[in-house]
């Protein structure tokens, strides 16, 4: 009895904060999503907010953009990171130096990185368009063209995702069983065959883990859009994402109910995704 009282006492600081800022807001999000949007005089309106959100073409745009972003950034970022990590692993001398360099962008705030990219991607005096000019490519209006806005966010997303992936993949490579490689080189397998037949299968759990983390992070992007387009979601909301939609409904136009309904939908999508991914992972590890 005394022991359990003590346990709850020690847990209480953490639990109070977790209840107030994790559990209650979750309940409140669900509650508000069924309420009319004004805070002072709100009442239960059933599924109306959900219907409004689900039939809103801007919400469709937001979900579409988020999905395309995830579908582009996650595989491309992962493949580039895998190539870099595999090459770095063969560097015996400067491996750690390069690891430190490639990881650096990860710890710098998205706002700072986004500000730099806003300049680099500028149509008239951005370096990227200048370099494209060497290859006779016309300047691309990365920032003010609704057709290209999503591509802009994707480029930034891939660049930002490399550091974390490389560091995790390198740690996975370092833990590989080196026995197989000795056998492989005895059998005369070349580097590429070794990578394809030995390294990749062994890395599969880590790659699956990175796929999940990257996908969930992609579903949550917001700051990237906000900073690249300097406080907007691109021209005419062309680069709007799911979280940006929630932010816009909630904070800008003060339609709390609709914002929270969108939040619940996003949460459900992430949950379904996580469950499916877990099932796949379980199948992979069982084999």
């Amino acid at each position: 009895m005394r022991k359990s009282l003590k346990a709850w006492f020690l847990l209480s600081p953490a639990l109070i904060i977790i209840i107030l800022f994790n559990l209650l807001p979750l309940a409140r999000t669900v509650f508000l999503s069924f309420q009319s949007s004004s805070l002072n005089n709100s009442h239960f309106i059933g599924l109306e907010n959900y219907i409004t959100v689900l039939t809103d073409s801007r919400f469709h745009q937001a979900i579409y953009n988020t999905a395309i972003y995830a579908l582009a950034v996650v595989p491309i970022g992962l493949i580039i990171s895998l190539i870099i990590a595999a090459i770095l692993y063969d560097f015996k001398k400067f491996q750690v130096v390069f690891e430190v360099i490639f990881f650096m962008p990860y710890i710098i705030s998205t706002v700072a990185k986004g500000s730099i990219f806003r300049l680099l991607l500028n149509e008239d005096y951005g370096i990227i368009n200048n370099i494209l000019g060497w290859f006779n490519i016309m300047p691309i209006n990365f920032l003010d063209d609704p057709e290209i806005a999503l591509l802009t966010i994707i480029i930034f997303g891939i660049w930002s995702s490399l550091g974390f992936n490389i560091v995790i993949l390198l740690s996975g490579l370092r833990n590989l069983n080196s026995q197989y490689y000795k056998m492989a080189s005895v059998c005369g397998a070349n580097k590429f065959q070794q990578f394809w037949l030995i390294t990749l299968p062994q890395l599969l759990p880590i790659i699956t883990f990175l796929l999940t983390v990257n996908c969930i992070n992609s579903f949550r992007i917001y700051t990237e859009v906000y900073t690249i387009f300097n406080g907007k979601a691109g021209i005419g909301y062309s680069a709007i994402t799911a979280v940006y939609y929630i932010y816009d409904k909630f904070y800008v136009v003060n339609r709390y109910g609709e914002g929270m309904a969108a939040a619940v939908i996003l949460f459900m999508l992430i949950l379904i995704f996580t469950i499916i991914q877990n099932l796949i992972l379980r199948k992979l590890t069982r084999r």
């Binding site: 346990a7 709850w8 904060i17 800022f21 390069f98 360099i101 730099i116 929270m260």
Partner: protein, 271 residues
Amino acid sequence: MQSKIWAITAYIFITLMTLITLFPFVYMAFVSFMTYEELISLKLIPSGFDLSNYKEVLGQASFVRYFLNTVYTATLSTLATLCTTILATFAFVKLNFPGKKILLMILVCLLMVPYEVLVFCNYLTIAQWGLMNTYTGLILPSTASVFYIFYLNSFLKMMSVTYYERARVVGASDLEFIVKILIPLSKPGICTVALLSFIDGWNSFLWPMLITNDSNMRLLSDGLSAFSMQTDRDFPLQMTATTITTIPIVIFYFIFRNQIISSVVNTGIKN
């Protein structure tokens, strides 16, 4: 011969990717010394290291104040997180109490809720408590973390239970046990929590943006964002402000680089 071609291609690729990774930051620092005319003439390197942009930025916006605000809130929320996490972990690992399993299960479920789903209702809570534009409002929600409790839990589970029993026999109180045995033994885990929670606090953006509208209460990230919106297309000034906000964390990174990387790897793999 073929392997040589491979090696050369690999070197070229790594060099190119290193350039792509580092160039934005080097360019940022260079542009901070440029005039607007130099920038639009597409020069890569400034003609001199003129500090007038820095004077102008610091005159226009109080980045020193944002810096101090950020240090203050990131440090306090890290210290608070450490306290709540260590106490909770101790209770979970060393004590058995009714309801422990259910509690752990609820916490696992909470781990799956994305921060962005909660942050808006947390904003309502803080606003209703009248804590807008206060340090308390900025810090309070990030003084405990389900994620770090689980991380430290998994770290301490490997520690043998006999330590605790032996300490009890000798007559050590729980506090003595925590301070003298638990903390020293779980030092790497605690370092990980401290580093990651500090970096999180340092880079937080959405929360301070929601909670503050008084420019004196801004942190570096939302301060930089607000400054960029005010100065619209004055890129040399924006890059100066960006340099000012990134240099402290880059220095911090190079001091703790190995610990930071292994922290990220550990928490990553554990989950």
